[in-house]
């Protein structure tokens, strides 16, 4: 609903405005709540369970993982797969042999500090392949520098069986990142940056005669807001076929987080997931144990198809004509480049201008040259 925008229009009409400004309410202490994020797919590498507790509002970045939990998944044939804690609060399926199978039903069991939790039994559904993922390029000169180079990435998917009506997608972006100078060793100036989708991307096809996804706009990337398009970029799209309950869960979560701020917003409410505390049924448990088969498709966008992409990162730089001068400048100075013409060193006080490993890894992903 675009009510907020409408309200904005309305107030422009009456020469006023509905205004929004930042606000921090005062709230009381509360009990921390267990959050379960679980995914079980037909790919063994994808399976994980993340356990955490909620963090009071206003405190950012302090994760509150739940450690030393006992976790296993049981299927309808009573087969068990145990999950091991790989890093605090992050549990992965033990056996590399263990993969989910479409058609089977799985239940997640958790034991945290002596209390038992379990999910509803979840059916693993088949998923159709993604037909295609593609990008549309747009170039625009709007008076600002640099001109805008923008890609909109779309995908198509078609379920001929029409069995699956609810979908969820996640994606993972990787791009090559070069520091604009060459003096530091190569391992510090060429990196691969990775980012996972955080938006909730879902679609309900139950009202369509055919379960068709046509030209679904996934995301937009451009040369102004990030470094993604400078050299080479790749995106991997994963498609999950989910149950209606899970769809409702994600949809509510999306509404609660992304679509607030109008006059007609739903009354917010914590979302019940599919996990409950066996020992204490009134204890709230957040999160969802998702079970789905997965299909994937990757798209590359290369610099040579883009030719030159202007724009870029900026570092505050300084210059020095000799090594002696550099050492006199203090400890936290990084040499970026030696400029032969003029014979001086280009320096920066900022490490991110000298070492790209602060953002990513200098090991190329194994698929990087697959295109």
């Amino acid at each position: 609903m675009r009510f907020r925008s409408l309200i904005y229009v309305l107030f422009l009409i009456i020469l006023s405005d509905s205004c929004t400004s930042k606000f921090v309410p005062e709230i009381e202490e509360y009990d921390k709540v267990i959050v379960v994020e679980g995914l079980l797919t037909d790919e063994s590498i994808s399976n994980y369970v993340k356990l955490s507790r909620t963090i009071p509002i206003g405190i950012t970045g302090i994760a509150s993982p739940v450690v030393n939990a006992h976790i296993y998944v049981k299927d309808d044939l009573d087969r068990i797969a145990v999950f091991q804690e790989k890093s605090p609060g992050y549990y992965i399926s033990d056996s590399t042999n263990f993969t989910g199978e479409a058609g089977r039903t799985y239940t997640l069991h958790l034991s945290i500090d002596g209390k038992n939790y379990e999910s509803e039994p979840m059916l693993m559904r088949e998923v159709q392949p993604i037909d295609s993922i593609y990008a549309r390029f747009e170039y625009r000169e709007d008076g600002r520098y640099p001109p805008l180079y923008q890609y909109t990435i779309y995908f198509d998917s078609f379920d001929s069986s029409n069995d699956n009506r609810f979908f969820r997608w996640t994606y993972e972006e990787v791009w090559e990142y070069h520091l604009p100078w060459h003096y530091p060793p190569l391992y510090k100036s060429l990196c691969w940056l990775t980012e996972k989708s955080t938006d909730i991307i879902i679609k309900n096809n139950s009202s369509l005669e055919q379960s068709i996804i046509n030209k679904y706009p996934l995301l937009q990337i451009d040369n102004r807001s990030s470094t993604r398009l400078f050299h080479k970029y790749s995106i991997l799209l994963k498609q999950y076929s989910i149950s209606e309950d899970e769809y409702t869960f994600w949809e509510s979560m999306r509404e609660m987080t992304q679509e607030q701020g109008g006059l007609y917003d739903p009354i917010p409410q914590s979302l019940p997931g599919n996990i409950r505390c066996v020992d204490e049924p009134s204890e709230p448990v957040l999160g969802f144990f998702s079970v789905s088969a997965v299909s994937k498709k990757r798209l590359f966008i290369r610099n040579d198809t883009l030719k030159y992409m202007p724009g870029g990162q900026y570092c505050v730089t300084d210059t020095a004509y000799s090594i002696e001068e550099i050492s006199g400048l203090g400890r936290y100075v990084f040499i970026l480049e030696f400029i032969d013409e003029g014979g001086y060193y280009l320096l920066s006080r900022f490490e991110q201008c000298a070492d790209c490993r602060l953002f990513g890894t200098n090991v190329p992903p194994d698929f990087w040259y697959d295109d």
Partner: protein
């Protein structure tokens, strides 16, 4: 001298109450042989008595004797004996007439004397008032002048011919009174005799009638409008009417008052004005709907032309959908709802429309920053048939086109509404009315989804008077509400979504006045509802949207009602009523059965039953009791008590804090039980300083069953199993309302303060469906403290100033209390429902009105109003919300009107 006689006539005809009669005065003096003039002067001086006579008549008349303590009447009789002079004594006035005697009763006992008919002098008076002095005779005295007769008739507005509603008629000799009903009709039973009948009504000149009634009959009167309506800011009718009115919790608003108060964007608004009365609240400014004594917005029955209106606002809730130009008055029943009204549990907002002027063609109009309105009314056949045509529209779309920003140029927001009313009087006994109303709204942001919604209603009413003790009203009504959401941007997904409600009703109401102690209302109300909850369909050939229809709901709702208003003693009046409401949902329909051990969901369906067309699926029968009692204490106070139980079979599903135009309505069915309300209210009323100051204090307690709430993440649109997303709540509300008002004088207005609480509790056996673990929680519209101050100051007939101040506790809100990371995004974890409150609300508005020339002969009368909404520019918080952006959760507050909003409105009348 003539003037003295005139003064006298006015006095004699109006004053009825007896004082010490001048005739009883004993005179003493040696008057023998003195001229009458000398005698009169001496007596006048000593006894404070006034004589009225023509000097030439008394030339040559002298006093015959000396007197010692002789009654003045005797002295006069002796003096005038043998002459052609007569005298008449009225309290301390003595009138001497020649040739004719003045009679004190319309039918005097002595048929031999010649009497002056008061009408002989009527030509001296202003024509408008002549009727006051025309005695009305119904029958004539015969042998037996005992027994009761019935008086009835219409009270009409002399200027427009429209009925006067709520006019009070009073007969002091009997200490009895009555009130006109919504057709301006009254009926009362009284003993045969001669009376002075006093008629009064807010905004109209009071008038008297000399009545001599010896058989049942009718007396119609026409009341003139007050020449200077300025400053008649009165929330209720006259002080004594307020005291004798039955219902605790009835608020009346006259449209003139509504138009005088500061209006946002210059658009007068009945509902926004009603919010200034105690016990009436809203979730936030600019929101649709209102809440009466803890009821939700869908629990208000809004009747225009006696037909329910489903959507009550334009422009996303900023204006009410009913044009004030077509309204005379509104009555809002907060409690003590009469038995003839039913279907909604919290309140009845009865809009009393204008009939249209039966005398002359006239009209009015106005221009404000966003809207314009025009109304024309007049006779088709003079004094018989009238019409009223009114319309309103906005030019906001044109304003949008002027915007620079493309997104605004491509946006749309507009509304219009129109009213047509025809009233025809076939004869004395029969009257026909046709009324219709349409309203339309649409809006669209930047070529995105288009939302449009429409109201339309129609009513045909026939009023028949069988005799003056029994009148009947039969009406056939239709009301329709529909909305349409369409999106045509993506050719593969182009769709439109439709929702509509069709309401048809046949209503009969009989009012019977068996004796002066009783007024009986009874009738039968038969309504049919048809609701199409949702129809989704493709638009265009490429669209792959599958047509989906959520099954239609149909129901038949007959209701029988009976109420008797009994005057038990002169001080105690009781209105006892019963409404027997029933509901029959009928097919075709598919009803699912759910496993009783689990919370209803699609996976717990155990059985499916198909009902054929017309087959009854579910029936409900509910007796609703209505009782009001009013006890007068002394001359200026009263106590009122009432109890009402109400049932509601149609529900608006809204999971947002305020209702929105795209909320759907559903009927009760197997799973959605009727909402039931019970309210007990007690009120005290008193008027001080001869009705200059009125004070009312009311308290109420209310319980509501089967209110509707939703499970987390409920989907309301296009849901074929809506019962799986619904949970029931029960509600309790209580409050105390205090109102002090001053109705007269240059400075007038009112102060109202309400303390009230409204709490809800989920009512389910499944722990996972409970809200706040099954504990009581405040409703969205629970605002404990609510204060309104309304002041008007009239500088002169041309200039007036009004201001309103409003304060209320902030509404409850659910805040996020924690975050967690989920799927890479930060998600909010919310507090218990409505645990916190947004900051308190306060607002000051002011307006200044300049009336054009006051010359009554002027063709067009105009006025200019300058008003400022939110004069102090207070940044009132409407809502607090959170947005997760770049992995950071940030709270924002949304203020709807954060700045002063000035507006200038031009109104004219012709």
């Amino acid at each position: 001298m003539k003037n003295n006689i005139l003064t006298f006539l006015v006095l004699i005809l109006i004053s009825v109450k007896g004082f010490a009669q001048a005739g009883e005065v004993a005179v003493s003096g040696d008057f023998a042989g003195k001229s009458f003039r000398v005698f009169a002067e001496a007596v006048s001086e000593r006894h404070d008595i006034k004589f009225f006579y023509k000097s030439e008549w008394l030339e040559g008349i002298s006093i015959k004797n000396n007197y010692r303590d002789v009654l003045l009447s005797k002295v006069l009789s002796e003096t005038f004996a043998g002459s052609d002079l007569s005298f008449f004594i009225d309290s301390d006035y003595i009138i001497i007439t020649k040739n004719y005697a003045i009679k004190s009763r319309l039918y005097a006992d002595s048929p031999d004397t010649n009497y002056i008919e008061p009408t002989d002098y009527s030509f001296y008076f202003d024509d408008d008032q002549s009727n006051e002095f025309q005695p009305v005779r119904i029958g004539s005295p015969s042998g037996d002048n005992r027994g009761n007769v019935t008086l009835s008739g219409y009270v009409r507005n002399r200027n427009t011919g429209e009925p006067v509603i709520g006019a009070v008629l009073r007969i002091d000799e009997l200490q009895r009174g009555s009130m006109t009903n919504e057709y301006g009709y009254y009926s009362m039973t009284l003993p045969k005799g001669d009376y002075n009948v006093h008629f009064s009504c807010l905004g109209l000149k009071s008038l008297n009638r000399q009545l001599s009634i010896y058989e049942s009959g009718s007396m119609d009167v026409e009341m003139k409008e007050n020449l200077i309506p300025l400053g008649s800011i009165t929330v209720t009718a006259e002080g004594d009417a307020e005291l004798s009115r039955m219902e605790a919790g009835l608020e009346k608003l006259n449209i003139k008052e509504v138009k005088l108060l500061p209006a946002n964007m210059g658009v007068p608004d009945i509902i926004k004005t009603a919010l200034l009365l105690p016990g009436i609240q809203t979730v936030g400014e600019g929101s649709q709907g209102f809440n009466v004594r803890g009821g939700s917005a869908d629990q208000n029955l809004i009747l225009l032309y006696d037909v329910p209106v489903f959507n009550t606002s334009h422009f996303l809730g900023f204006f009410s959908s009913v044009n004030p130009d077509v309204i005379n008055d509104i009555s809002l029943y907060k409690g003590g709802i009469p038995a003839r009204y039913g279907g909604r549990i919290s309140s009845v907002l009865h809009i009393i429309p204008k009939d249209g002027n039966k005398k002359v063609l006239s009209g009015s109009g106005g221009i404000s920053p966003v809207t314009s309105n025009l109304m024309i009314e007049g006779p088709i056949i003079k004094d018989k048939t009238s019409f009223l045509l009114a319309g309103r529209s906005t030019y906001s779309n044109w304003l949008l086109k002027l915007m620079d920003e493309t997104s605004l140029k491509n946006s749309k927001i507009s509304f219009y509404d129109g009213n047509l009313r025809l009233v025809h009087e076939i004869n004395e006994k029969n009257n026909i009315e046709f009324s219709s109303y349409i309203s339309h709204d649409d809006f669209k942001f930047n070529n995105d989804t288009l939302y449009s919604y429409d109201n339309s209603l129609m009513s045909l009413k026939w009023r028949h008077i069988f005799n003056n003790k029994l009148i009947a009203v039969f009406s056939a009504n239709r009301s329709k509400y529909n909305y349409n959401i369409s999106s045509l941007n993506d050719i593969y997904n182009s769709f439109e979504l439709l929702h509509d409600i069709n309401y048809s009703e046949f209503n009969s109401l009989l009012t019977w006045y068996p004796s002066y102690r009783h007024q009986v209302d009874m009738g039968l109300d038969m309504a049919i509802y048809g609701i199409r909850p949702g129809l989704l369909q493709a638009v265009g050939d490429s669209s792959v949207v599958k047509q989906t229809i959520v099954e239609k709901q149909q129901a038949f709702l007959p209701a029988l009602f009976f109420s008797d208003r009994i005057k038990i003693t002169d001080r105690l009046t009781v209105d006892a009523g019963l409404r027997l409401s029933s509901f029959f949902a009928y097919g075709p329909s598919t009803v699912f059965a759910y496993h009783p051990d689990f919370s209803r969901s699609e996976s717990t369906i155990t059985d499916t039953t198909n009902y054929k067309g017309g087959e009854i699926i579910k029936k409900y029968l509910n007796p609703e009791f209505r009782l009001s009692a009013n006890y007068l204490i002394g001359a200026s106070s009263s106590v009122k008590l009432n109890y009402s139980s109400t049932t509601q079979y149609i529900h608006q599903l809204s999971n947002t804090a305020t209702v929105s135009p795209t909320d759907i309505w559903v009927l009760s069915d197997v799973y959605i039980k009727p909402q039931r309300g019970r309210q007990l209210a007690l009120g005290l009323y008193t008027s001080l300083f001869t009705s200059k100051l009125g004070i009312s204090l009311e308290g109420y307690y209310k319980k509501i069953d089967n209110m509707i709430d939703f499970k987390g993440g409920a989907k309301l649109l296009m849901n074929e199993n809506i019962e799986t997303d619904i949970i029931n709540t029960i509600g309790r509300a209580y409050g105390v309302e205090l109102m002090v008002r001053k109705e007269t004088g240059r400075l007038n207005g009112w102060i109202s303060y309400t303390y009230s609480r409204t709490e809800l509790r989920s009512n389910t056996i499944f722990p996972e469906d409970e809200i706040n673990k099954g504990n009581w929680f405040p409703a969205n519209y629970d605002k404990p403290h609510d204060l309104s101050i309304i002041l008007n100051y009239i500088f002169s007939r041309r200039f007036s100033f009004s201001c309103t101040y409003v304060y209320s506790t902030g509404r409850p809100i659910t805040y996020p209390i924690a975050t967690y990371t989920y799927g890479g995004a930060d998600v909010l974890h919310y507090s218990d429902r409505n645990k916190y409150r947004i900051p308190d609300y306060s607002r000051l508005d002011a307006s200044f009105t300049i009336n054009g020339s006051l010359k009554s002969k002027k063709l067009v009368r105009s006025s200019l109003s300058f008003s400022v909404y939110n004069l102090l520019g207070r940044d009132n918080v409407y809502s607090i919300y959170y947005i997760t952006k770049n992995k950071l959760v940030q709270g924002y507050k949304l203020s709807v009107f954060a700045r002063p909003i000035p507006s200038l409105t031009y109104n004219f009348k012709f």
